[in-house]
């Protein structure tokens, strides 16, 4: 049912421009009863015009959750129901995706429904009202009030990318969304959802003729439209910036990061990915941060590090595919910590990262991380939908991350990783966001450069840990009072 990873590595990026500029990616699995369709448009929040932040996402929502000329959205849902199919629409700064998986019995019917969503959207005022209100509520109610960790991550994005096309949450801002009218959406659609921005992916047990015929439907889209704006580099930062977001919470959610000039397209990405895995592989006990902060000290539930934007795919351990970015950032995620320990946690994360930068990756850690990744990457694309996602990302980046890691890891050396660490990782200009309670006290301690000790309410902490704690609690930060700001959660993402 599945192609092995070896077979996938042997097949190069499968994108071919066939129906005009549309790129088509095929992954046949003749024995599979399922077929996945993915439509990936290289259109994202970075395309939002100034003052209309949220326009790309709202347009995508009108396509993915709105009526077509032929059917109201209610009728679309009715048509999808017997085949147990969904149209899953999601996106990020540089791409929006419309995807679904169906039994091959229902392929033609589902393909028609999906194509209609993109090609003949109705742009009804009822759908617009509903989806615009949902987007506003997503920011003002859900993001500001129901999810401290996502709030922290989104706020971090506004710091790292201040004044940059990536510098607002993908759903938009309150002012941006409020300013939008239906005509804005129609114009954005016409100018951006064009053939030259589209990749069509098909995976599974489909008839051989299907992909070409399906892709050909999209030849009615304009060949091209508004040019993609070149991205200026993100703003440079000198020293650390700390944003404390005050809200009622039990723990302080902490995210920190800084832009890095490397993506999957670059050779340096691969040794850097090894460093990130060593420092904090997502939701494993492999990472240095997890071992030091959760395992040894019981500080919180988890601590992770990344060298590209990471959104978890549902309840799995693995990242969403098809959210490629032209620019990436280094990020550390510390899950909520009791407020009394937040200052210590910030210092500890920076202490461990600085150790990695200064001393390089230990030889034993490098060997173990490499061995881990060589096996772990076999789990990243277990089903047709995810394999297709990775194949489309390969077409966009120019490199297939799984195939590249499989090829490069055996010959990679500790020196390669150390070189990448020294070139790209730094804690000198981190943006740090803390969401939660008692942030005024934290601000005071950080501004005064005071120690922020950890106080254990558990017994028998080992002596070596206590000794290290003394170093961490006073670890110097490149931070001064003017760079510490307190805001209320309800003030974020206004414009």
């Amino acid at each position: 049912m599945l192609l092995s990873v070896a077979a996938m590595a042997a097949a190069p990026a499968l994108a071919r421009a066939e129906a005009g500029p549309i790129r088509v990616v095929r992954l046949p699995s003749p024995n599979s009863p399922l077929v996945t369709l993915r439509l990936v448009f290289q259109v994202g929040a970075a395309d939002d015009p100034a003052g209309h932040e949220g326009l790309a996402a709202l347009t995508a929502a009108m396509l993915g959750e709105g009526s077509t000329v032929r059917r109201t959205w209610s009728e679309v849902l009715d048509a999808l129901y017997p085949m147990a199919a969904d149209i899953h629409a999601y996106g990020d700064k540089d791409a929006f995706v419309f995807t679904g998986t169906v039994h091959r019995d229902n392929l033609d019917a589902f393909a028609s429904l999906l194509a209609d969503q993109i090609l003949t959207p109705r742009f009804s005022s009822e759908d617009f009202t509903r989806l615009k209100q949902d987007s506003l509520d997503a920011i003002t109610k859900t993001l500001r009030g129901n999810d401290d960790e996502d709030l922290g991550k989104q706020a971090l994005g506004t710091l790292i990318y201040a004044g940059h096309p990536y510098g607002h949450p993908t759903p938009g801002t309150v002012a941006g969304l409020s300013a939008l009218g239906l005509d804005d959406v129609k114009r954005f659609y016409a100018e951006h959802f064009t053939q030259d921005r589209l990749l069509v992916g098909v995976a599974g047990g489909y008839p051989e003729s299907f992909p070409a015929a399906f892709a050909a439907r999209f030849a009615v889209l304009p060949t091209t439209g508004k040019a993609r704006a070149e991205l200026a580099p993100p703003p440079a930062r000198v020293g650390m910036d700390v944003l404390l977001v005050e809200k009622q919470s039990l723990g302080n959610a902490i995210s920190m990061g800084t832009s890095i000039d490397v993506t999957r397209d670059d050779d340096d990405f691969y040794p850097l990915a090894v460093a990130a895995s060593y420092l904090g592989e997502h939701r494993t006990f492999n990472g240095v941060l997890m071992l030091a902060m959760r395992q040894k000290r019981g500080l919180n539930y988890g601590d992770y590090a990344y060298v590209e934007n990471f959104i978890q795919d549902g309840w799995t351990t693995f990242p969403l595919t098809n959210i490629p970015r032209r620019q990436q950032h280094f990020e550390i995620w510390l899950r909520p910590i009791p407020p009394a320990g937040a200052g210590f946690a910030i210092r500890e994360a920076i202490f461990e990262t600085d150790k990695l930068i200064r001393d390089g990756i230990p030889a034993v850690g490098f060997a173990a991380t490499r061995a881990f990744l060589l096996n772990y990457i076999n789990l990243w694309a277990q089903d047709g939908s995810r394999r297709l996602g990775y194949a489309i990302d390969a077409a966009i980046y120019g490199k297939d991350v799984v195939a590249e890691l499989k090829r490069r890891l055996p010959a990679m050396t500790k020196d390669d990783v150390d070189r990448a660490i020294r070139k790209y990782l730094t804690t000198k200009n981190l943006a740090v966001v803390v969401v939660g309670d008692k942030v005024k006290a934290l601000a005071g301690a950080l501004a005064a450069g005071k120690p922020t000790p950890i106080v254990y309410d558990t017994k028998d902490t080992p002596a070596d840990v206590l000794k290290e704690d003394k170093l961490i609690e006073s670890y110097p930060l490149p931070l001064s009072a003017p760079h510490i700001k307190i805001v209320s959660a309800n003030s974020l993402f206004e414009k």
């Binding site: 049912m1 092995s4 024995n31 009863p33 399922l34 959205w73 209610s74 849902l77 129901y81 017997p82 147990a84 039994h103 229902n106 009822e126 509903r130 209100q133 949902d134 509520d137 109610k141 859900t142 500001r144 009030g145 129901n146 999810d147 401290d148 919470s249 039990l250 723990g251 959610a253 939701r283 494993t284 006990f285 959760r294 019981g298 500080l299 919180n300 539930y301 693995f318 899950r335 909520p336 910590i337 009791p338 061995a371 990744l373 096996n375 772990y376 990457i377 076999n378 789990l379 277990q382 089903d383 008692k438 309410d457 558990t458 017994k459 028998d460 902490t461 080992p462 959660a489 309800n490």
Partner: protein, 441 residues
């Protein structure tokens, strides 16, 4: 897809060891991969002693804290070397430990899993540190208003049964966990026994490969002592209502629970309720169309009855756009269920629901890990993988009259508990303090 096709079509071999350990090996076409699931038929439902809520989940954490042979560090190193996706979860009725890795790692997996299930050993210091990771897990969920809403719903809907507390437990019990080291050893002794654990191995493996390893590593494990009985919940006699205060932003929320039957492969009410949930709450339903699309008073609505060992709840959640519409939305939900109780459903609609359910289930069987996850749930509830096909056989027997009957039987005012949440005015407020951690002994 034919009606005769099995819902769980994979070749399965079941073996029982003399000590009672039952092993299910499912061959699945995932070249080079295996999913190894250890299913403990114990969850938060088994936390019968006061002050011990959350312990099944806490113990799940402790299972990663080492043995004499495999310290935490050594265990983690083995998992890392095989490049495994390894984790665990606890729910009301089960604790499931799962490893997804290359099939070539099977001998190591069986060795380290058998070892920790029989010889777990940790210090009190490690125990206490891990208790604070559990507190961290509670804290990370606390910014989601659904956490206090679910706590409040179950605390009110149940008076005697241990479903009264959520799986993560009451915060007061979590804060006190560092003081429960002796109880943790009793918990392991009581529940981590071959007669209470099932093994499910799915993937590029055969029983001939798995069983010699299992016999070697688990053969010396001995069955456990008698386990405490779970109190029976008396019938609810009148509606219960509660509100949750929420400082900060949120959409207003409505959470309703109706007492519902336990999982069964013989009584038809459970699958009839599953059909009802689709009829009332699927995105193509009249209710969804009215509240979400036409009137646009609701941002999200869903309703379903999760499968449980004992009678649990059919729960309905709505996120409402304006507080003033909470009562209206509640009323409309009841009206729709009452309409089905009065009018029933057509055979055509029933056929569409059954088709949808079968296709949706088939779509979930896309990886060895997903197949194992589904199998684990049914094994924990019923002890048999054949329970999956039994359930679908029962689904095929549901009639419109069954759906009409359950709509009338279970959705009465005296059978429901209702929780609402409305955000307070957004002021920068002094935090409620987390209960001070008691002095650790």
């Amino acid at each position: 897809m034919t009606a005769e096709a099995k819902a769980f079509p994979f070749p399965t071999v079941e073996t029982t060891l003399p000590n009672g350990l039952r092993v299910f090996v499912v061959h699945y076409d995932s070249p080079g991969l295996v999913a190894y699931y250890s299913i403990v038929r114990t969850g938060s439902r088994n936390e019968v002693e006061p002050g011990k809520s959350g312990f099944a989940h806490f113990f799940e954490h402790m299972m990663f804290r080492g043995t004499r042979q495999f310290s935490t560090e050594k265990y983690n190193a083995e998992i890392k070397a095989m490049g495994a996706d390894s984790n665990a979860f606890t729910s009301d009725d089960m604790t499931v430990y799962h490893i997804l890795a290359g099939a070539s790692a099977l001998p190591t997996i069986v060795n380290i899993e058998a070892d920790r299930f029989q010889h777990l050993e940790y210090t009190e210091s490690e125990f206490q540190k891990e208790s604070r990771a559990v507190l961290g897990e509670y804290n990370k969920g606390a910014s989601d208003p659904l956490q206090p809403m679910v706590e409040t719903l179950y605390e009110n809907a149940f008076q005697a049964h241990t479903y009264k507390h959520t799986t993560i437990g009451f915060l007061r019990d979590i804060v006190d966990m560092p003081n429960q080291f002796p109880y943790s050893r009793q918990f392991f002794d009581r529940y981590y026994r071959p007669d209470n654990v099932l093994l499910l191995v799915v993937g590029d493996v055969t029983s001939e490969q798995v069983m010699p390893l299992v016999e070697k590593h688990y053969g010396g494990w001995s069955a456990g002592p008698a386990r405490p009985a779970i109190p029976v919940e008396p019938p609810q006699q009148h509606e219960r209502r509660a509100t949750v205060a929420w400082k900060g932003a949120s959409l207003p929320m409505l959470l309703i629970g109706f007492h519902a039957p336990a999982f069964s492969t013989t009584s038809i009410d459970g699958v009839a309720l599953e059909v009802l949930s689709e009829l009332v709450f699927a995105e193509r339903s009249p209710l969804y169309r009215r509240l979400v699309l036409d009137e646009q008073k609701v941002e999200h609505i869903d309703g379903s009855c999760d499968r449980h060992v004992d009678p649990n709840l059919f729960t309905i959640l709505a996120r409402v756009k304006d507080s003033k519409d909470l009562a209206y939305v509640e009323k409309v939900i009841y009206q729709e269920i009452a309409r089905i109780a009065a009018e029933g459903m057509s055979a055509k609609t029933l056929a569409e629901v059954v088709s949808h359910t079968r296709y949706a289930f088939a779509g979930q069987l896309a990886t060895a890990d997903k197949v194992a996850l589904i199998g684990a749930e049914f094994l924990a509830l019923d002890g048999r993988l054949s329970a999956i096909d039994d359930t679908f056989a029962l689904l095929a027997k549901v009639s419109p009259a069954d759906v009409k009957r359950v709509a009338g039987k279970y959705f009465t005012p005296e059978n429901r508990t209702v929780v609402t949440l409305q955000p307070e005015a957004a002021e920068a407020a002094e935090a409620d303090s987390v209960p001070e951690a008691p002095e650790v002994q």
